[in-house]
């Protein structure tokens, strides 16, 4: 038997998020990273499972080209962290609306119906601030954009709201 259930506290990562390994310096390390990257790219090219993701990344590029509410472009660090977050999302998850919030951070919004949704903002350091509403319940919190996947707190909330 090979159980596949993840441990409760582990980050969630979709198939387009390669495993996060310590970057190496040897020729063998470069060989492995090149083979992994090529395998993922070929897989992405061979099946159209990432159409919604590419749409979200396009929207992210669009909003980052324009001046945000603070009169300056979005910090490249925010763009990079938001892109990593989107790439880590499992393909079964709904894609969010992408915009720039009042602090010039990247805002991702999911609307699952009347008084049910989640909003999060991603800043240049990869810090995530999120808030969600579900009926009369509301909560907010903070997390980080991790290299290995989406934090359990954010992933669990999103999964619960989208399945409710």
């Amino acid at each position: 038997m090979i159980p596949v259930a993840p441990p409760p506290a582990s980050p969630t990562a979709g198939l387009t998020a390669p495993a996060d390994v310590v970057p190496g310096f040897s020729p063998e390390a470069h060989t492995i990273s090149g083979m992994v990257r090529a395998a993922i790219e070929r897989w992405l090219e061979s099946v159209d499972v990432r159409g919604p993701l590419l749409g979200a990344l396009g929207a992210l590029n669009d909003v980052c080209q324009e001046e945000g509410p603070l009169g300056k472009p979005v910090d490249p660090g925010s763009w990079s962290a938001a892109r990593r977050f989107l790439m880590q999302m499992p393909s079964s998850w709904p894609m969010p609306d992408v915009s720039v919030d009042a602090d010039n951070d990247i805002a991702l919004d999911w609307d699952f119906g009347w008084r049910r949704g989640m909003a999060l903002s991603i800043g240049p350091t990869g810090r995530i601030h999120y808030a969600w509403t579900s009926g009369s319940d509301e909560a907010h919190g903070a997390a980080w954009v991790e290299h290995d996947g989406i934090s359990a707190a954010v992933a669990g909330t999103l999964a619960r709201l989208s399945e409710a």
Binding site: A19, V21, G24, E28, Q65, P76, W79, T125
Partner: protein
């Protein structure tokens, strides 16, 4: 599974890496962070600044626009003669030992020695991830059969040609005992020419997320546990015939 040994005289390790990811302090690279470089420069004379370069390419019907920004991240220091590289950056610390690998005690002691000036100079808020990665190069003799060398070779259905030109497998597993995960990668490239020995790369990366104070001694005890897990996975991944080549 091969029988675990205490020591392999000719261990197939081509690179060992010890990595600590951190939540950075505010302020970016500063003269104070540079002091770590100066402290280590006598032993690591080749210094290279590393930056994070973010670029965007926007293509529409009328034009192509690009933007990019470069942010200093830290430094990479190298001692080529000793086969050692250390990365000191805002987001973390990495120590790499290339061939020849000395021993666990020597490797760990050097990593700890290098960590101290890094932690003092960069003053990270906390350590958020520990990682220990070993890349092994397992040479295959002529006409070798993968199943005689690997405990988990890539499965090939019957009646499919058996000659493997290249393969890549990767699994991420979780060990409840140590609360650590491990990414185990096996890769074989197509032979690059006559006379080149084919080899399988066995790459074991053990890691754990958490929150540690940068001065916490438990960090180094955890790396010791990671090493035990890594060794268990190494011997479990290879057949006895493979290990005998490295005794």
């Amino acid at each position: 599974m091969a029988t675990p040994r205490d020591h392999l005289n000719r261990a197939p390790i081509v690179e060992a890496l010890l990595d600590l990811r951190v939540r950075p302090a505010e302020g970016g690279t500063t003269p104070r962070t540079k002091s770590a470089v100066e402290a280590l420069r006598p032993d690591y004379p080749e210094v290279q600044e590393i930056s994070k370069i973010e670029g965007q390419l926007l293509i529409d019907a009328k034009s192509v626009a690009t933007t990019h920004a470069s942010t200093p991240l830290g430094w990479q220091l190298k001692n080529a003669a000793a086969g050692r590289v250390v990365r000191l950056a805002q987001d973390g610390f990495t120590f790499s030992q290339l061939r020849p690998y000395p021993s666990w005690n020597v490797f760990l002691a050097e990593a700890r020695r290098l960590w101290n000036p890094y932690a003092s100079a960069f003053a990270p808020h906390e350590v958020s991830r520990l990682g220990l990665r070993y890349i092994n190069r397992i040479a295959l003799p002529a006409n070798a059969s993968l199943e005689d060398w690997l405990e988990a070779p890539p499965p090939i259905p019957p009646q499919v040609p058996r000659t493997v030109q290249r393969f890549l497998t990767q699994v991420v597993v979780y060990d409840e005992g140590s609360s650590a995960s491990a990414t185990i990668t096996q890769a074989m490239e197509q032979a690059q020419g006559a006379g080149v020995t084919p080899a399988v790369l066995l790459d074991i990366d053990v890691f754990r997320h958490g929150t540690w104070d940068p001065t916490d001694q438990q960090i180094w005890e955890t790396f010791g546990k990671f090493r035990g897990l890594k060794n268990r996975m190494f011997y479990a991944s290879l057949k006895e015939a493979a290990i005998k080549e490295y005794e």
